[in-house]
């Protein structure tokens, strides 16, 4: 039986590029304000089943991040349908998504509440998260005082420990020192195997992707140009890269 967790059906995303904020503001009230269209994602179709781990390759501007943002439900497609079943945990730009005025601990609760966890559930996870993040006493300091490495560690620790069903990793495994990177990789492998988590992985390092993933998708200029085994996808991507 097929158990599709993510389905993209002819999805297109067009960004409206106004030449100035003034024009954008006018565009709310007037119809005839001109803007350029940027097709970030162009008629993309794919399905991902539960437990699959998929790598997404593509150069900067190929539309990878837009796809991930649409899966997390942060941004919306201009046309087409997206179906997502399951709690999404996204490791997008790890250093952001915190309330800078709050301490690390308060941010754990905030994120937990927003994701719909109860106080009791968060309390159970709290120690694991703090331990994983290796922040020690800093956990009670405001996040604005953290270095980017500390923020990334906390972001990673929260996102992998809140029992996600779909995990989205965007270049996130390149944070911190080698020891922390190794720990992250182990944790990701562990939750993929143990909890049957679906993984979406974006990276430029094809070798890392091949470690985790079984399937690969290659994007170019907003279009899906290859979808298949991770090794083939990786080869395809490297060739494309070398040609240019």
């Amino acid at each position: 039986m097929k158990d599709t967790v993510i389905k993209f059906d002819n999805v297109t995303k067009i960004y409206k590029l106004y030449s100035s904020t003034r024009k954008r503001l006018l565009g709310i009230f007037l119809k005839n304000v001109g803007y350029k269209k940027k097709r970030a994602v162009d008629a993309v179709n794919f399905e991902i089943e539960r437990g699959e781990s998929v790598a997404l390759f593509g150069k900067n501007g190929a539309g990878k991040s837009t796809i991930l943002k649409m899966i997390t439900g942060v941004t919306f497609p201009t046309s087409g349908d997206i179906t997502v079943n399951g709690r999404v945990s996204a490791l997008l730009e790890l250093t952001s998504g915190f309330d800078l005025e709050f301490s690390g601990r308060e941010n754990i609760y905030l994120k937990g509440h927003i994701l719909g966890l109860s106080d009791k559930e968060i309390k159970e996870l709290e120690e694991t998260i703090i331990e994983f993040s290796e922040l020690g006493d800093y956990i009670d300091q405001p996040v604005r005082t953290y270095s980017s490495g500390m923020k990334s560690r906390l972001g990673f620790a929260i996102n992998v420990n809140i029992r996600p069903e779909i995990l989205i990793v965007d270049e996130a495994l390149s944070v911190g020192d080698t020891a922390f990177r190794v720990k992250c990789k182990e944790k990701v492998s562990e939750i993929i195997e143990k909890d049957n988590v679906t993984l979406l992985f974006v990276t430029h390092q094809t070798a890392v992707a091949e470690e985790f993933c079984t399937r690969g998708i290659v994007m170019k200029n907003g279009q899906l140009i290859f979808d298949g085994g991770v090794h083939e996808a990786s080869e395809y991507y490297k060739e494309m890269y070398n040609m240019n």
């Binding site: 904020t21 439900g73 998504g97 309330d99 005025e101 994120k111």
Partner: protein, 273 residues
């Protein structure tokens, strides 16, 4: 595109499903406002008391005006209306910035955007409740114990909350697109303050029918006078139904504008912030 009824239904559902988060976030919003200062929470009271003192000084001592109103000392008349303005003034400017202030809830995670103005307004309401308690206490200390008319105070609070909640959604969405709008609101805020009979009694211009009527149509005046009706004038809200109806009309307009803004901008906001 969804119809307005769908958006209303969605609005109710988002609030129902997230009531727990909304409560937590409103408390968090207060912490965010008052954290990082040594006196912390005390500022919630110090700031308004100071403002009140300055206005009282300017009018009573400086302008040698401000005699008793309806048998109450001017300072009591002033504070009873002013307390509502402390909420409304903050809601007008704060509401305009609410979505920018919480941009990470829009761009970094999936969060019901319509509840953002709700929890920021709720945070203001918590401070407001404290201030109202202080005002009741001041009246009492000065020899005016609470009367039965105070029971309609929660009603006016509810109207005020609902109106400015709609305003915050509308203004927050527009100013997320361009900061110009929040600058516009800041200038406009001063005009609203001086034209709403918070510092001076609108009844003073009662002989000029047109000006008086226009001033009375203002929803901010309605709330401010509602508060004074409870504390000073001893008037029930149902004794002046035409004013209430006028306010409800304003609320419907504001509600429509907020839904229009949501419908128009919800999908664009994450790409812009």
């Amino acid at each position: 595109m969804k119809s307005y009824f769908d958006i209303i239904a969605l609005n109710i559902r988002e609030h129902k499903d997230n009531i727990h988060q909304v409560m937590k976030l409103s408390v968090a919003d207060l912490k965010k406002t008052y954290n990082g200062s040594a006196l912390g929470w005390a500022w919630a009271v110090i700031k308004p008391v100071f403002t009140l003192f300055v206005y009282w000084f300017a009018i009573s001592i400086g302008l040698r005006s401000g005699g008793d109103v309806g048998g109450y000392p001017f300072i009591l008349w002033l504070v009873s209306g002013m307390v509502s303005w402390f909420f409304m003034g903050d809601a007008i400017t704060g509401g305009t910035n609410c979505i920018r202030r919480y941009s990470y809830l829009v761009t970094k995670m999936k969060y019901p955007v319509m509840t953002i103005p709700t929890f920021t307004s709720l945070a203001l309401l918590i401070v407001h409740l404290i201030l109202v308690a202080v005002v009741i206490l001041i009246f009492w200390i000065m020899g005016y114990p609470p009367t039965i008319y105070l029971v309609q105070l929660p009603f006016y609070m509810l109207l005020m909350f609902l109106f400015f909640n709609s305003w915050s959604l509308f203004a927050g969405l527009i100013s997320a697109i361009g900061k110009d709008f929040s600058n516009l609101v800041k200038s406009f805020n001063i005009a609203v303050f001086w034209l709403s009979g918070i510092l001076w009694n609108v009844e003073n211009v009662a002989d000029n029918k047109i000006v008086h009527t226009i001033l009375m149509l203002n929803p901010v005046t309605f709330i401010c006078y509602g508060y004074r009706n409870c504390f000073i004038n001893k008037v029930w809200f149902f004794e002046e139904p035409e004013k209430l109806i006028c306010f409800v009309c304003w609320y419907l307009v504001m509600g429509f504008l907020s839904l229009w803004a949501y419908k128009k901008l919800r999908k664009e906001i994450p790409d812009v912030l």
